[in-house]
């Protein structure tokens, strides 16, 4: 019996003149951390959203636990999502709700819990991510990193068994990066939790991923167990990996350069 919890078959997205993803197939085993990487703009986030059922592909299918999520009735898909969580790159918090209410929203919607139980769960998460003092603030008054952390807390409040993470540790400061890395590792070590993440951080991928997928030129250029991919002698694959590393370093340098420039101007 297959251990695969998610099966992606022949997924394509975009018009033929402007294809974003072309004929992608992959199997995601239960309880593993799958990281999908590639150059900027290669369609990583789009693929992640298709696998999570947020975007419908133009062709192909995605099955979760044997259920084709694009053929299932709408309300059934919403029920399935109670145990699925999506961590957006920028948090995607509801701008008219406080941080507390944002995180409490899925609990209030799905369950008839007493207020003190909701408070207990939400405050515990807020405390874990250093956001307790900001619980009454609106998302607009938070920094980007704080919004992202709040988005993570909201994703975890329902104790999901399937987590989709879009650049979970991208462009974070050292403290936030460590918090989120620890969270991802903890989830990865839980055999009941399946994690699918997209990102550029090759060091993190090398250290923690179980499976790696590399998107290139609209296709899934390589997919398999981490060691198999990293030890591959395919020169094209090695070239793509080195370009991804360079791109990430260049971007980090340009951000640091801007920050240094700002600091020099101030002094």
């Amino acid at each position: 019996m297959s251990d695969n919890i998610i099966e992606v078959r022949n997924v394509s997205y975009g018009h033929s003149s402007n294809r974003v993803l072309d004929n992608i197939s992959m199997d995601i085993p239960k309880g593993k951390l799958v990281m999908i990487t590639g150059l900027s703009g290669c369609g990583k986030t789009t693929l992640l959203k298709i696998i999570a059922g947020l975007i419908e592909p133009d062709q192909g299918s995605v099955s979760i636990d044997g259920v084709d999520i694009f053929m299932v009735p709408r309300l059934k898909l919403f029920e399935m999502r109670r145990k699925m969580a999506f961590m957006f790159q920028d948090g995607a918090l509801l701008s008219n709700l406080s941080i507390f209410d944002n995180i409490a929203l899925p609990l209030r919607y799905h369950y008839n819990l007493p207020q003190d139980e909701i408070e207990k769960r939400v405050l515990s998460l807020l405390d874990s991510y250093g956001l307790k003092s900001l619980q009454s603030e609106l998302p607009g008054s938070l920094s980007m990193i704080q919004r992202k952390l709040a988005g993570v807390a909201r994703a975890l409040v329902m104790e999901p068994t399937m987590i989709f993470a879009d650049e979970p540790i991208g462009f974070m400061d050292v403290v936030a990066r460590e918090q989120l890395s620890n969270m991802l590792i903890q989830m990865r070590d839980d055999p009941e939790v399946t994690l699918i993440a997209v990102g550029h951080n090759i060091e993190f991928i090398k250290m923690y991923a179980d499976y790696i997928g590399i998107l290139h030129d609209q296709r899934l250029f390589a997919y398999g167990e981490k060691n198999e991919i990293l030890k591959s002698r395919d020169p094209v694959l090695q070239r793509i990996l080195s370009i991804i590393i360079d791109e990430t370093e260049m971007l980090a340098e340009s951000v640091l350069g801007v920050m240094r420039g700002d600091i020099n101007e101030q002094h």
Partner: protein
């Protein structure tokens, strides 16, 4: 030929919009009839906030408009009714003009301009900032969470505002009548109540409910019609206002014809 091409393209756009709106209404009806999630608090909060914003926060302005409309209607009537010896028909003016027609229409216009535009803008912004996608990712049905509470909130608010408008319009009319024809409140109210039928009140309330439902459906539909860019938000908001006004007059005409003919 170019004319026919342009006309054809325009017609197809209108048809596509109309069919999308019909499909949207079917989705809402299906969600309304489907099993509710266990938690009610999330949607009830939205409903409460909507009634507060659309109804309660509008009371002062609606009272002012209603006083003015009532006064203006009586002033104009008192210009012409005495020419025919028909001063006694002031009550008919109040009932026919204000309670049956102007009350529901003006209240609805006010709600379109104030709350309808706010809803379209809010939902449109949520689409652009991926907040609707975030709701879906949590298993929160955007129709159940964003649309249904607003549907009930608008209908409830508009029915209440209608009654409120009618009371203040009658008061506005009385204030003019008191000074011009030197009548007492008791006389004035007697004239109004002699003309007013229970059916007039019920039709006025029915119109409020229909108008509120239409405004909520159209405003939320236009909000969800925003696709990617912030520039679409004001475009869809303008369309929401125009569509709602057109739908309002169409519905008013249909109800009036069905009931009064």
């Amino acid at each position: 030929m170019q004319f026919f091409e342009a006309f054809g393209a325009w017609f197809l756009r209108i048809l596509e919009n109309f069919l999308s709106f019909c499909a949207y209404n079917l989705l809402i009806a299906r969600t309304l009839l489907s099993k509710r999630p266990k938690g009610q608090r999330a949607s009830l909060r939205v409903l409460f906030k909507q009634v507060l914003f659309t109804g309660y926060d509008a009371l002062a302005v609606v009272a002012f408009i209603a006083l003015a409309i009532g006064a203006i209607a009586i002033i104009q009537s008192l210009n012409y009714l005495p020419l025919f010896g028909a001063e006694g028909f002031i009550g008919d003016v109040i009932v026919t003009v204000i309670i049956r027609e102007l009350g529901p229409i003006i209240t609805a216009f006010f709600v379109i301009g104030r709350s309808g535009t706010a809803i379209t803008t809010e939902i449109g912004n949520m689409v652009v900032h991926h907040e609707v996608e975030a709701l879906e990712s949590m298993g929160v049905d955007p129709v159940r969470y964003l649309v249904l509470p607003r549907l009930f909130g608008f209908a409830a608010a508009l029915v209440s505002l209608n009654v409120y408008f009618d009371i203040f319009a009658i008061l506005g009319g009385f204030l003019v009548a008191k000074f011009v024809v030197v009548t007492s409140l008791a006389n004035f109210l007697t004239q109004v109540l002699q003309t007013l039928l229970l059916s007039d009140v019920l039709i006025s309330l029915l119109k409020g409910m229909i108008f509120g439902t239409l405004i909520a459906l159209i405003s939320t539909f236009r909000g969800f019609s925003v696709k990617i860019s912030m520039t679409e938000v004001p475009q869809q908001t303008t369309k929401a206002v125009l569509n709602a006004i057109s739908a309002l007059f169409l519905a008013d005409g249909i109800v009036t014809v069905i009931y009064y003919f």
